[in-house]
Every structure is written in C-alpha cells, then in structure tokens.
C-alpha cells in the first residue's frame, strides 16, 4: 500500500515529547492513589479534571494563533445551557458526566450501549488544532483532543446500508436547564453522510487545551467537523445511529431555509439573513475573509464533487 503523506502530518520525532511520557507516569500514579474505585481507570481520574497526559501532540496543526483558552471556554453556543454566549459556562458548572453512556444503534453489526471509557480507550488520543467557524460569522482556533470518528465507527462494523450517521445530545432538562424552554426541538440532533463521518479530519473530541472537555464545550464527548459550521459539531453525545436515510438535524428542523443538512463553510453561499463572506476571529476586531470549506478544501472538496453546493447548502 502506498501511504500518501498528508500535508498536516509531522515527523515522528515531534510526536509526544519525553516530558509528557513522564507526566503520564505521574498521572497514572495519581490515578492509582486517588482510590480503589478509580483504580487503573484514567477516565474516572480525568473527570476529577486531571490533565490528559498522554496524547499525540499536534497530530494535525495550523500555522495560526490558537484562541485564548478563556475565550474558547466562556463564549459558547450550547443552547442546552442557555441561549446567551456566557450562559453555558455559568449554567453547566454542576453538570455531571459520570458513567456516561452512548447508545449505538441502526445499521451495524455491533449495536449496544457503551460506556464512554470502553468506547474511547482502545484508541490513541490525538491533538488536532482546527479552525472552528460558527454560522454566526465568528471563528476560533482550538486545540482539540480526540480520536478519528471513523476508527470508533468501524469498531461497530457498519453494514452496507449505513449511508448516514445520526447523533443525539443528552436530553435531560434537569441537568441541562436550557432544555426547559423549547427554543429548539430537543434533543439536539445532528448527522453526517457516512463518507463525511469516515473522513480522517472528523473526530470525536474528549478534551481541549490539553485537558478533559469542559462542560460548556460539550463534555464529555463531542463531534468536531472542522469544514462545517460549528452547529454541526454536536456536543455531549449520547446516541449514535447508522441509518439508510438522511437523518433529521435540529437547526434544519428549526429553519429549513437557513440551515441545510450539509452546512459546509462556504463564503459563496450566504445565510439568507447575513453574509458568510467574512468572519471575526475571536481576539480580533476586524473581520477576515472566510475560506471555502473553512480552509480544508484540499482534504474534503472531493466529497462534494457531484453536489451543487448552492442547493445543498
């Protein structure tokens, strides 16, 4: 097999410096001393917000300044915790993600309910520094920690009928007070074509800035699809379903004329009410040009060769 080196790959010598391996030891030791219940369970330890020590640094990187961590964790669209940008941080403080389970269903050989740890642990965690472009015309650069979604999906052995993958966020108005108002049709739903889901850029993310995922950013596990508008990257996932038909998605249900199923970042196709040509990078005053597919065209454009992106926005 010929292995084509992708433009984001970096030499092996840059992967995980020794100091981090050492930190990993400390981390395991810390996990061990926390108590019997947490014994050799780095996930439980991680939920006590210990640093994720062991990951492949800068598996995919960007030559752009990383958004200030404080900004990325205090300016969020996560309507489950309120519609204001500062609401998620405020209202998710006590959100517990212990014993998180994800139900896998539909067109696959291994459906079932999986614990978060069971799902994630078999795979090495990678740091992926991606642009994040919100449909509201602002953007960030975030160092995610995650696993290629494709690796996890393949472990469920999808059948040939699996043409799409649908995702669901937790629906629990007590734990997610924003759901007490029907601003959207809860639970939040998103979906991808199987090709998009299997694309190497698509990840399930469990952390950012070297730490476990903050509640306001979609703890404990969320999707990250860097070439699509942010709302496609569904947070706090509890359901994954392989499906033969295109699944319903929340924003499309709320306003079908404004948010399509694909929702690829596209400066040429404006939102019916505002322009998508430019964006404000958080931390900057003036706007910059928005890039086609958020700058990931080289990697993903071929997925849409047969698609009219003006119609399939």
């Amino acid at each position: 097999m010929i292995k084509i080196k992708k433009r984001w790959e970096i030499p092996e010598s840059e992967v995980t410096p020794e100091s981090l391996y050492l930190r990993r030891r400390e981390f395991m030791k810390a996990a061990g001393t926390i108590g019997g219940a947490l014994l050799l369970n780095p996930w439980a330890a991680a939920q006590a917000s210990l640093e994720i020590g062991d990951y492949k640094q800068k598996a995919i990187s960007l030559d752009e300044e990383i958004t200030d961590e404080e900004d990325a964790t205090s300016y969020n669209n996560f309507y489950e915790f309120g519609t204001g940008k500062e609401d998620p941080k405020k209202h998710s403080k006590h959100f517990k993600t212990d014993d998180w389970q994800i139900k896998v269903s539909g067109e696959c050989a291994k459906p079932g309910t999986y614990g978060l740890e069971e799902l994630v642990r078999p795979f090495p965690i990678e740091e992926r520094i991606y642009r994040l472009r919100c449909v509201e015309a602002w953007s960030m650069v975030i160092p995610w920690l995650g696993i290629p979604l494709g690796s996890i999906l393949n472990s469920f052995e999808p059948t040939s009928k699996a043409k799409y993958v649908a995702f669901k966020t937790l629906h629990d108005p007590v734990r997610m007070p924003g759901q007490q108002r029907s601003v959207l049709n809860w639970p939040y739903r998103e979906g991808l074509t199987i090709a998009e889901a299997m694309h190497p850029l698509t990840i399930l993310s469990v952390g950012m800035y070297g730490k476990t995922m903050p509640n306001q950013n979609g703890a404990p596990i969320r999707l990250v699809v860097p070439w699509k508008y942010g709302f496609k990257s569904i947070k706090s996932i509890v359901g994954i379903e392989f499906s033969e038909v295109q699944p319903l998605t929340s924003w499309n249900m709320a306003a079908p004329g404004e948010y399509g199923f694909y929702s690829n970042v596209n400066p040429e196709v404006n939102h019916p009410r505002w322009s998508q040509k430019k964006e404000r990078r958080i931390g900057e005053i003036f706007k910059r040009e928005t890039l086609m597919f958020n700058g990931y065209g080289e990697e993903v454009a071929e997925l849409y060769d047969d698609l009219d992106l003006t119609v399939n926005f």
Binding site: D68, E70, D71, A72, S74, Y75, Y79, T83, K85, E86, E136, W138, R181, V183, L184, A254, A255, N270, R273, W274, S275, R280, I282, G283, I285, F286, K287
Partner: protein, 206 residues
Amino acid sequence: MWFTAALKSVYAKPVVHLLCLVPFSALLWAAFNDGLGANPVEKLTHETGDWTLRLLLITLSISPLRQWTGQAAFVRFRRILGLYTFFYGCCHFSIWFIADHSLDLAAMIEDIVERPYITLGFSALMLMLPLAITSNQAMIRRLGKKWKTLHQLVYLIISLGILHFVWLVKADYLEPTIYAIIALILLAHRVGPIKRFSVKSFLVAR
C-alpha cells in the same frame, strides 16, 4: 407634592442626562478593562442596539406617563431622551460600520441593500435624523403644526427598530417579544381607550 417638585426641579434634567450616560460610561469602562468578554465588538454592537431600543421605549412612554399620572412636567425630559436614543443609535451604527465593514462604504451599502434586517435598522436610524435636527426650540416654532406630524415618524421608527431585532435572532425570540409587547402597549395608548385612563380618576372612582 414632592414628586411634582422633583420633576420640576432644576436638578431633574442634569440627573436625566447622567442616567442616560450610565450605559455608555459602563461600556466604555468595560472596554478599557477587558470587561466585554470574548467578542467585544459583538458585545458593544448588541448593547448599544439594546439601549437604543430601550431609550426609544422610554421616550415613547412620556406621553402615557403624563396622562396616567397627570404630571405634565414629564414632558420636560422627552427631548433629552429622544436625543440620547439617537446618540446610542449612532454608536450602534458606527461600531458596525467600523468593525464589521472596516469603513468600506461599498461593502456597507451592499449589506444595507441585501440584508433586510440591516435595511430596517438603517432606515430607522435615517428616519431619526430629521427628528434630531428639528428637536430644538427654534425648529419647533418654525415648523408649527408640521412639527407634530413630522415627529409622528417615531411610531414608524420603533416598529422598524423592533423588526430589525426580531429579524436577526436565530431561535430565541424572548427578548424581542418583550420589547414588542411594551411597544404595543405604548402605541395602543395613543389610539385606544387607555388614552383616557388616569391614575387619579381611577382612584377617585373607587
């Protein structure tokens, strides 16, 4: 009555001026003290827009307040309030023109023409301009009866302003709905039977 005296006091107008400048000063202070959050431009745009609408609603509540309370002295503050509405509207517009369009006139015009919610907001601001210009005593005298007709544009301005707000919201209509309800009550007062309602006669009748 102390209340009438307060309304008529020489200090009343300066106090209203100061109150109207509180939001502006707070924003200015926040801007220089890293208090505007992750997206300061958006914060400033939203806050100045909110205050334009709020001050416009307060300006519109002067007439009803006068009738409901029987205190004619409320009218003393109407011009100040109207002018501050215009001031916040100008701030709102300037931030958008500078930060969103980098002072690019062509891009700004394109946005005004192509985006209905911006068309509405911009029209509302433009309609405020003649009202601000004709707000002094000399103009009131010069225009005579026409002045009142001209200043009835304010009803169109508040409607455009609220639609501007409604139209830019993604999913949560709570806030614009509250503004719309208040505006409807204030406008209904001008046509409906509540016009003749007064607190005094209400209390006397009992």
